[in-house]
Amino acid sequence: MSNNQEHKGAHPPEWFQHHFTDAEQQQESAKLGMWVFLLTEILFFGGLFCAYAIYRAWHPDMFINAHTALDWRMGGLNTIVLIVSSITMAMSIRSFQLNQQKQGVMLLVVTLMCAATFMVIKYFEYSHKFHVGQLPGKFYTFTGIEGTNPHIFFSIYFLMTGLHGIHVLVGMGVIIWLIMRAKKGHFGPAYYTPVEVTGLYWHLVDMVWIFLFPLFYLIG
């Protein structure tokens, strides 16, 4: 399938995949594909949200006691950082649509910086919890939280924020790849699909955090 010399007329642009009939079909397909993928992501996280709901319903007092171990200022700062990164991501797509490649790359770099900031803040939060023994399941050694089974709160906290953190890291990898391609001038008004679908993914990662933040940091 690699030889596509039989195309009639003008040579198609490099990014065009010959099994599509036109560029619009290719872009529409990519966007729908990403939306379907995001649906799977929602169900993937959904299992953990379900576990959260069940254990919070069974141990309501413990959840409220345990959430005081989290620092809402750090969580809040991270929320702001991620929302800013979502805005810069969206603006970057617009820049490529308007053929402002330099600005688009800049905005992607800012997005990447925000994601890195998020992970650094998360690192400080995690290392503090490791230090005092507020750890998942059988590694839980902290003694200052009253209520039944406080280790489960930290299991769910680490599972959900950990899975979210992995998604941030994957997103950072993809954004780096976008920056490298954008610097080579791959994106412009005719073709910006990879930036657009990465944007969709990035907004979902942001959205998940917007649910995690109040559910862990702001209860009680």
């Binding site: 399938m1 690699s2 995949q17 010959h18 099994h19 599509f20 009939t21 079909q25 529409e28 397909s29 729908l32 594909g33 379907v36 993928f37 649906l39 799977t40 992501e41 169900l43 993937f44 996280f45 959904g46 299992g47 953990l48 379900c50 576990a51 069940i54 254990y55 998942p136 399941g137 059988k138 590694f139 039944t148 089974n149 280790h151 489960i152 299991s155 769910i156 599972l159």
Partner: protein, 539 residues
Amino acid sequence: MSYSPAVDDNGLPSPNYLSSEKGLWSWLSTLDHKRIGILYLIGITIAFFLGGVFALLLRLELFFPGQQLVGPDTYNKLFTLHGAVMVFLFIIPSIPAALGNFVLPLQLGAKDVAFPRLNLASWYIYVAGSLFALYALVTGGVDTGWTFYTPYSTSSNTAVISITTGAFILGFSSIFTGMNFIVTIHKLRAPGMTWDRLPLMVWALYGTALIQVLATPVLAITLALLIMERTLGVGIFDPAMGGDPVLFQHFFWFYSHPAVYIMILPGMGIISELIAAFSKREIVGYKFVAGSSLAIALLGFLVWGHHMFTSGQSELASAIFSFLTFFVAIPSAIKVFNWTATLYKGRISLEVPMLYALGFLFLFAIGGLTGLFLGTLSVDIHLHDTYFIVAHFHYVMMGGTVIALIGGIHYWWPKMFGRMYSQFWGVVGFILVFVGFNVTFFSQFIMGSQGMPRRYWDYLPQFQRIHGISTVGAMILGTGLFIIAIYLIASLRRGTIVGPNPWGASTLEWETTSPPHPHNFENQPVVTGGPYDFNKPRV
């Protein structure tokens, strides 16, 4: 038909997807959906063989009471691996990823699926997941049953982590296939291919893809949690840590019940194609058959609790799940009645694929109706965890899906390879499979209703005769499958060369050469009529 008269070294129309590029690497790096379908076909055949060997070993062990071949611990591992291999390595990818990959773009009049690279990646992910599962096999096996129920799966000292990691990885292969199919069906249809002109196979694959995309991530997170439970002791499922083992069952069946429709729906799609092609009639109630695929996909998400009637869920929950379970019978029956009505006054030709379609109608009816026994609360209490349920799901999975798969392979084989297999051996193979299957599993309905529990290594002497009959049936079934494999492989070299449309079928894939052009159609097809219009030319 306007196919070029040029032929390749093998006397097949040229260019075709089989001979246009040569060498192993051209296969391992292919982006062609037809080749990827063949790669999947090879993968699932190996998995089916492996799972089948486990099954035959189980039946041989059960030939007589007491120990024949293997001890009880090995027996537990054998049925676990039989189940896990058959479900995750074979039946889930079987029809969608192997046959579906091959025919879907052809039936839509597209050049390929929407994301060819993702399609190839899904095959490599499938291979990687399968290798993890095999690694579990060689490092001592697993003895939890394919359902990996907690708390036993968190304490068993067998290779639970490697096999669940394998299933986790395999899930992504399934998700990627589903994503690809949804987008392909939405965006890559040929001009004129409106939604009400889609072949019913496409509707079935669409319903299947929706389930793959919506249910599989839940299995993924469930298995990830199980792995976390074993490695980090997170306490979500482990009662000793304040966790809830029944929550595992809810999560597991939230995927695994819809997953049985991932297995059966594409089989139903094949049957729709076969009934139309060999009755030379438009499927009666096309819209209802198409819609029932979506209805089954939807209802499949609402009935997982019927696997847990005896697991300690509330009586109210059991009653609701039981009630909802009966609704699944409606779209299933719509399909069966419409297929039967299509046969009426059709010009029926009993070619080999049609034998499988008729076999499906018979076996699926038994499998489906016994499902209603099990969905009834009071009856299920008696039949739960007996051979009755083993027989029920084998009638649906093997008598339904596998029979449809084999029928589909026979139907599209000449399209895939341009050659026809031996009709005589085809009929012999079908008879052996059909008879062997019924002897194996109908006897299990009887012993199950008499109280023979499933998953037991040994049994009371009173069950000896019926277990013996079941084992003999399994041998006949195994022989039939072996014969089918032999003559199909033999036909690759010796089979007579066929034209584009040996069955006189009406859907788009039969309008290109056999085997098809690397880009499927030499000229973009334009669709002007329904999928089963046998009277007028459509392109």
